[in-house]
């Protein structure tokens, strides 16, 4: 039995409960957030990177993909220096083709984030629906969904993503491959990741569906769909949030990995992984900045999202503190 005091019914109840905004500000989660330096810093870094990605077309100093503005004479300008021939300055240096590294990073970040977020949203909607249905309906439906999940879980996500990408590439006619590559990536990473969501949501739903508030809703005759969406779904979302954050970091890394291996984003739309792939060739000949800055950006993004996810998991699970 837990020895926690019951709040006194008579004493100190305010005449009107405070508004939603105040509630959100005053909640334990917001409090923990305000008092966690790690969470604040990683949220700030994430925010800066997201803003950079979103605003890339407006804030990037150069347009790295416009052949008209590219000058091969600008190639290999070190960071912060002005090219002696053309007079262009590159804050983070330029690559072999004279593209501004800062600008390619901003545009690359855009693609990395877009693929990551879209893949997680796809995995989330698929996983949450299937997990909810499996647990609530039960029987054969559950067996089939969870068996598929088990089989897929046997194979590491990155491998599943590669296979799906490979097959999708095989199906698409050669001339369209580059155009649909980004969408294929999203599909591949998303499909490789739904299992996490489905398992967690199923587990939480199995707990929730036996709770008496669900029985109360069934008693008055609410339909299964209404019970799943209105009653159970809001109560299984907090673990989903944690997994979504961690999945985002994983998806960004997965995308970078695939692109690095040359089976992801095409050279025409380079993501951070593609940039690192390009830069790898120049690392050993002294042009370190072509690899270094994209790598740092990728690490900063993955690390700050991971830190947020880690913090969120601890904050939503008070027993761990």
């Amino acid at each position: 039995m837990t020895d926690r005091p019951e709040t006194d019914p008579a004493a100190g109840a305010p005449p009107r409960p405070p508004g939603r905004l105040y509630r959100a500000w005053d909640s334990d989660l917001a409090y923990a957030f305000r008092h966690s330096p790690v969470a604040l810093v990683s949220a700030f870094v994430t925010l800066v990177l997201v803003l950079g990605a979103v605003l890339a077309p407006w804030i990037a100093p150069y347009d790295p993909f416009n052949p008209a503005t590219l000058n091969l004479m600008n190639g290999f300008t070190p960071p912060g220096q002005t090219n002696a021939i053309t007079g262009d300055t590159f804050l983070l240096g330029s690559d072999d083709q004279g593209r501004d590294v800062l600008s390619t990073i901003l545009f690359g970040l855009r693609i990395s984030l877009f693929v990551g977020v879209a893949a997680v949203l796809f995995a989330l909607s698929l996983g949450v629906s299937l997990g909810l249905i499996a647990a609530y309906v039960g029987g054969w439906t559950e067996t089939i969904i969870m068996r598929i999940a088990d089989v897929q879980l046997t194979f590491p996500a990155i491998l599943v993503a590669m296979l799906i990408f490979g097959v999708a590439k095989g199906i698409t006619p050669v001339e369209y491959r580059d155009q649909v590559a980004i969408w294929t990536l999203i599909l591949a990473i998303g499909l490789s990741d739904w299992v996490q969501f489905a398992r967690v949501v199923r587990g939480a739903t199995l707990v929730e569906k036996n709770k008496e508030y669900v029985q109360a809703a069934r008693l008055i005759g609410r339909s299964p769909v209404a019970i799943m969406v209105r009653h159970i779904l809001p109560n299984v979302l907090s673990p989903v949030l944690v997994i979504a954050t961690i999945s985002l970091a994983l998806a960004i890394i997965a995308e970078a990995t695939l692109s690095f291996l040359g089976v992801g984003a095409p050279p025409t739309e380079p993501s951070l992984g593609t940039l690192i792939r390009i830069g790898q060739g120049f690392l050993f000949s002294g042009e370190w900045w072509i690899l270094f800055f994209p790598a740092c950006t990728l690490l900063a993004l993955a690390l700050s999202v991971n830190l947020l996810g880690d913090w969120l998991r601890d904050a939503l699970n008070p027993r761990l503190r």
Partner: protein, 325 residues
């Protein structure tokens, strides 16, 4: 207990049949093999003859059955790209991958479990917190970046270790091993660390969180209330209970070492099956992809089966009831 194991074996066979189906479907329908094999100059008669020869006109399940039959004998067809039997290519390259995976698996498991226990027991200590923070960086650092970093430091700057390849190999009863030469061993170090580091951080974090979970249970509190020493409580009571869930996930992690070997092999140009697979994807070499899929699914299913048996050995509840708890 027997029925539990039997059911698991049956499930494994089912998984293999399903992945076989996926591999076969890939093999059969992604990119027309006839197209690929005959090239530009062909007649309708040529096509028809080849279709008949390859059995492509048979019903789907007959073809699937033939495919499985051939796969069991190691016959996965001819690589589109290299024009050699896929089975042969894989047999050549598999030892390299297995050696790499084994070394990094031992590395990941050993360090992961020890560090996990350490950080769980000394939860509020400075060392544990430093390790936990480092582990988050480890999880956020893509494998290929770790590889590049290691190459840069130890090969390019310090020049201590080779940056690519497998070194010199010696043949021991038909198996090319790198364990017996100094160049083989030094070539193994960087790839093994690269491959094992990420798995190690994952295993460590998992062991830690499971152990913390167990340390909060009533029977641990009761064990303390009986006056048992911390050592006994941690290593006798908590650790064994921690192992039950850890074993499952660790099994999966070991499986993913084989998958992540693809990345490591690419970075280090390690001549294993992973590098083969990534080239196959780039060039849409379907027979190689299908064979690789079949190969690793056999490995994964094998690992999972071992994990299940370990489970039974540890948990008396499973032994008695003969079903998953």
């Amino acid at each position: 207990m027997l029925s539990f194991i039997l059911r698991r074996v049956l499930q494994s066979v089912l998984v293999l049949l399903v992945t076989g189906l996926v591999a076969f479907a890939m093999f059969r329908y992604v990119g027309d093999p006839v197209d690929t094999m005959l090239g530009q100059e062909r007649t309708v008669a040529d096509i028809e003859r080849l279709r008949e020869n390859l059995g492509l006109n048979d019903p789907f399940f007959v073809q699937y059955w033939d495919f499985l039959g051939r796969a069991v004998q190691g016959d996965f067809g001819i690589s589109y790209r290299q024009g050699r039997p896929v089975g042969e290519i894989i047999a050549e390259r598999l030892p390299a991958t297995l050696e790499l995976a084994a070394v990094s698996g031992v590395f990941a498991l050993g360090f992961g479990i020890v560090l996990g226990i350490f950080t769980a027991i000394r939860r509020r200590g400075t060392a544990a917190n430093v390790i936990m923070t480092l582990s988050l960086i480890g999880v956020s650092l893509p494998t290929f970046l770790i590889g590049i970093l290691l190459i840069y430091v130890f090969s390019v700057e310090l020049g201590w270790l080779p940056s690519y390849g497998r070194g010199e190999v010696t043949w021991v009863s038909g198996w090319p091993t790198g364990f017996l030469t100094s160049s083989g061993l030094s070539a193994l170090i960087l790839p093994a660390i690269t491959l094992g580091l990420y798995q190690m951080t994952l295993i460590m974090r998992l062991v830690r969180s499971e152990m913390l979970e167990v340390l909060r249970t009533d029977y641990i509190r009761f064990a303390r209330a009986r006056g048992l020493r911390d050592r006994t409580v941690h290593f006798r009571h908590a650790l064994k209970n921690t192992l039950v869930p850890v074993i499952t996930v660790t099994g999966l992690q070991l499986g993913s070492i084989i998958a992540f070997a693809i990345i490591t092999e690419t970075v280090f140009q390690w001549p294993g099956v992973g590098l083969l697979f990534i080239n196959a994807i780039q060039f849409v070499d379907i027979p190689v992809m299908a064979a690789y899929l079949m190969l690793i699914s056999v490995m994964f299913v094998g690992i999972n089966l071992v994990v299940d048996l370990l489970y039974v050995a540890i948990d008396p509840r499973l032994r008695a009831e003969g079903k998953a708890a």
